[in-house]
């Protein structure tokens, strides 16, 4: 059997998190009644003119600087001309020959600590179109132009990806990046981050690229993976059966798990791009670029390395804690409030806290337990007021809003018993109550040690200091 190689390039549309649209003052908020967030400009009324949103430009530059790209000192908006009912002007304002961001790269992490650098050809600013609604109009279509004019950053990768897995890793990394930078809310259900994939296959070693198919509008990581996998198999089967891949646009059907042809190359539009005469070329000066660069947050990769070196975390833990800016901020605030114990903090943030957040499907920014409160709890583990096990109960109470750690410990009488004589008393009672087990233990059944520990902890309602229990019990059981 012949060996095949897959070549994938992704075009990702990230909706920029500006308050207003890219060329008008209308709101970009999602989910309003149809056509209530479309002003005369978004409706493409006669005589209206676009004015570029400064914030969209800043966000595009932030992205470019974060991926080490060149920021064009002069970029040009062009009109992409085509007719479609949800495209009010009959053209989309985009960037064509001179995009604002050129030649960047992103490093993706693959299995077993292998990483790979993926080239980003360009990223350009453009406006989104509206939406056609095909239901509930007695056979007619409705048009909702609320989304028309929403700012998009189209991020185009080099054809550097070699598998569906790499494509997903790249998309996830990019998703993390834009959310980290605060330029996109990353909400894939609402279409804030969506992907078109260009997929082709070639025989291993063949220097020439195969004919590609473009799969449109993939709005989840899972769909990207499945669609690409399906497409690779389809192309290989086709070629092996003596057929030829045709250059075309395909649509992924998530219900059937397959891609199907949307339109062929011969039906491809001639978009008649030309510079938009309503907008002057976008000129960015050195000062703007310097200011933007200075405003960049610490990027995920840098932060991960710092977490490893500064907090002594494992690569895995550092990776998890830096997946989002909010999570890493929470973690660092906890460490700061506690004044140390970074590993303990990491375990709790990644463990109980994350579990509770997941269970209630909450963002970390909406956590009912603040970093200071969590640190307060961890302090009581640290000074042995409570055990780690009891701490879990206290955490639950904190989450439920039952007050601060110390009050909860006090109210519930959870304070750890560290007084040797008190523990000895409990041990003596337990030994006295279990003469049979004692005899067996002394006869060499060492396993029963755990039974005694359990009985002591139970009798102390979990409050006895586990280490002291171990030590004292070992002593007493010897006889």
């Amino acid at each position: 059997m012949m060996e095949w190689e897959t070549v994938i390039g992704l075009e990702i549309h990230a909706q920029l998190a500006t308050k207003s649209k890219i060329f008008s003052g209308a709101s970009t908020a999602y989910g309003a009644e149809p056509n209530t967030q479309a002003c005369t400009i978004d409706l493409g009324m006669p005589g209206v003119l676009p004015v570029l949103n400064r914030e969209a430009v800043r966000m595009a530059a932030v992205f470019g600087l974060a991926i080490g790209a060149e920021i064009a000192r002069r970029s040009v908006f062009a009109r992409k001309n085509y007719f479609y009912p949800d495209l009010p002007k009959g053209y989309q304002i985009s960037q064509y020959e001179l995009p604002i961001v050129q030649k960047g790269q992103l490093t993706i992490d693959l299995d077993e600590g292998v990483s790979k650098v993926i080239g980003i050809t360009r990223a350009h600013l453009e406006e989104d179109a509206g939406k056609s609604l095909h239901e509930d109009f007695q056979g007619l279509s409705g048009i909702d132009l609320n989304r028309a004019g929403t700012p998009l950053l189209e991020i185009v990768s080099e054809p550097d990806l070699r598998s569906a897995k790499e494509a997903v890793a790249y998309m996830k990394k990019l998703h993390q990046m834009v959310v980290y930078l605060g330029i996109c809310d990353g909400n894939m259900q609402e279409g804030s981050f969506r992907c078109d994939a260009n997929v082709s296959v070639r025989r291993k070693g063949d220097p020439k690229l195969g004919t590609r198919a473009e799969i449109k509008n993939l709005n989840s990581f899972r769909f990207v993976e499945r669609a690409i996998e399906f497409e690779i198999e389809r192309q290989i089967d086709l070629i092996e059966a003596g057929g030829k891949v045709v250059q075309e646009t395909r649509l992924y059907d998530p219900d059937k798990g397959e891609t199907r042809s949307m339109r062929g190359k011969e039906e491809a539009n001639d978009y008649r791009y030309f510079p938009d005469p309503d907008l002057l070329p976008l000129v960015l000066d050195e000062e703007f670029i310097a200011t933007t660069r200075a405003s960049l947050p610490e990027l995920p990769d840098t932060k991960k390395q710092r977490f490893i070196s500064q907090y002594g975390l494992s690569s895995y833990d550092a990776g998890v804690l830096t997946t989002s800016r909010a999570l890493s901020d929470y973690y660092e605030a906890t460490v700061a409030a506690l004044g140390g114990e970074p590993k303990l903090c990491a375990n709790w943030v990644m463990g109980d806290l994350s579990a509770f957040l997941n269970k209630e499907n909450r963002e970390i920014t909406a956590s009912p337990v603040s970093p200071v409160q969590l640190a307060g709890l961890l302090r009581r583990i640290q000074d042995q007021t409570i055990s780690g096990k009891i701490a879990k109960d206290v955490f639950e109470a904190l989450w439920a809003g039952e007050g601060e750690t110390d009050a909860i410990i006090e109210k519930r009488g959870l304070k750890q018993i560290t007084d040797n004589s008190a523990i000895e008393k409990v041990i003596d009672d337990v030994i006295a109550a279990n003469p049979e087990q004692l005899a067996q233990y002394r006869a060499g059944k060492d396993k029963l040690f755990a039974f005694f520990v359990g009985q002591v902890m139970k009798a102390s309602k979990g409050k006895a200091n586990p280490q002291q229990v171990n030590d004292l019990l070992a002593e007493k059981l010897k006889g």
Partner: protein
């Protein structure tokens, strides 16, 4: 009252000789009487006019009146007017009521001007004779067999016939200056970016510019002062203070250097027009100006370049008229393609259709470099010609149009000949320069226009030169006999 200039009306209103309401009523009566023969107005806005006139009179009583308060004006039907039909001379927008005001309209309203109505025009400003209007041709008040020029033909005819003291126009390749010349008026196309394009329905965005048509340079100065200025809603408008154009009118012209491009006096120029222009130049010498021969060597490339760039931009600008959201929609479309093709075929007239097709072709893959890019290169050459000329001279002068007004129907079947009537005006738009046309004589009963071209933002200089000429001549005071 109807034969007074804005300056005179302003003085009359200030002196209480008549009220704005009286003035407005008398002009509305004239419109009622004469418009049927001229077809200068598409829509007459009696109610708006009278309520604005009363508001202006009230403002005057409160001592808040400015020089334009209570003075009537007509708006070219390319400017969006809130709540009033804005047709752009097209069936496509025959029933379109604009939901907002153009910046120009807003500014003139703010100055207290009274809108009499919306004037006829070539459909989407494409034409040089006003014969391309869905609402029918406009007649030239000087000779009813003649065209008024275009595309601001309705505006020019209305002012020439004394139905309004002034009107707005737009100029993409000569659409203010050529009708001003053909109707014996003064009209100025400002520097690109001087007047906001917000609310001015786009024909060719990189060339379009609004401006006034009036009886005198002084009136144009008053109006331009109110119309011009930076507008944050138009990214191509220039943030630069508006000078006091009226204050600059009386400056002496001593030492002013006027260049005569030899290319503007060659083949195709009517001999009688050339003589009238020469006589006007002689007047300028008397006023103290020095006259130099200059050359604009790429002049012959202006029309070919324009007829690539303007159609290319218009093919895209007019794509929004698709029958989906507003404007003409065909009956019973059977599918989306049918909705598009029939709505557009029915909504647009032949010249608009022609330019959309030409522009679509010029931008198509495989032709873009040969047409659009080449035209842009020519545009730079033409700009360079002017740059070099303005290193030697302060103003450039020549005929506005190669002939006086031609007869209705004379050129409709020959678009190329029609296009040549803008041969001296088009290069000015390509270079983004200000240009002014003023009346300097007649051939028979049809007026001749002199074009003055200035450097970027030299409107003051143009208006000053035109005004000084009008102090020693009386061409601009002549009224078409049938409308006296």
């Amino acid at each position: 009252m109807h034969d007074k200039t804005i300056a005179q009306l302003s003085a009359g209103l200030a002196a209480g000789e008549f009220s704005s309401e009286e003035l407005t009523r008398s002009l509305l009566e004239r419109i009622e009487q004469f418009n049927p023969g001229l077809n200068a107005f598409i829509t007459v806005t009696d109610d708006v006019a009278l309520s604005q006139a009363r508001a202006a009179d009230e403002r005057r009583r409160q001592g808040q009146a400015g020089p334009l308060t209570g003075v009537p004006i007509a708006q070219k039907d390319i400017f969006c007017t809130d709540g009033v039909r804005t047709s752009c001379g097209s069936r496509m927008l025959d029933r379109f009521i604009a939901p907002y005001n153009a910046t120009v309209v807003e500014k003139l309203n703010a100055a207290g001007m009274v809108m009499l109505g919306k004037t006829n025009m070539d459909e989407f400003a494409m034409g040089s004779s006003n014969e391309n209007s869905f609402y029918g041709p406009v007649r030239n008040p000087w000779d009813l067999d003649a065209v008024p020029g275009g595309s601001s033909g309705g505006s020019a005819a209305a002012v020439a016939a004394r139905l309004t003291p002034a009107a707005t126009g737009t100029d993409t390749g000569g659409s203010i200056r050529q009708p001003a010349a053909l109707c014996g008026l003064t009209g100025i196309k400002p520097t690109y970016g001087r007047v906001s394009r917000w609310g001015m329905i786009a024909y060719a965005s990189s060339l379009d510019q609004g401006g006034p048509l009036a009886r005198s340079a002084e009136d144009c100065a008053l109006l331009l002062g109110a119309m011009a200025g930076f507008d944050p809603r138009d990214s191509t408008s220039v943030d630069r203070p508006v000078p006091d154009y009226v204050a600059a009118l009386d400056r002496p012209l001593t030492g002013l250097k006027i260049g005569l491009p030899k290319e503007y006096f060659g083949e195709g120029l009517d001999g009688a027009v050339a003589r009238a222009v020469a006589a006007a130049i002689a007047e300028y010498r008397k006023l103290g100006a020095t006259v130099l021969d200059i050359s604009l060597p790429n002049t012959h490339l202006a029309i070919p370049a324009y007829y690539v760039i303007a159609p290319a931009e218009c093919s895209s600008n007019l794509a929004r008229f698709d029958g989906v959201r507003y404007g003409h929609r065909c009956d019973q479309p059977k599918d989306l393609l049918d909705l598009y093709t029939r709505s557009r075929a029915e909504g647009f007239g032949p010249e608009v259709t022609r330019r959309i097709l030409v522009g679509t072709f010029a931008l198509s893959a495989g032709y873009y470099d040969a047409y659009y890019l080449k035209a842009q290169q020519i545009r730079r050459l033409i700009s360079n010609d002017f740059q070099q000329a303005f290193a030697q001279v302060d103003l450039i002068a020549g005929p506005t149009s190669p002939t006086v007004a031609f007869n209705l129907g004379e050129k409709v079947d020959d678009p190329i000949t029609m296009y040549l009537s803008d041969i001296y005006t088009i290069a000015v738009n390509l270079a983004g320069l200000p240009g002014l046309s003023l009346p300097v004589g007649f051939v028979g009963q049809r007026p001749v226009g002199l074009q003055l071209i200035g450097h970027h933002f030299a409107e003051e200089c143009l208006l000053n030169a035109a005004h000084r000429y009008q102090q020693i001549t009386d061409w601009h005071t002549r009224t078409p006999p049938a409308f006296a």
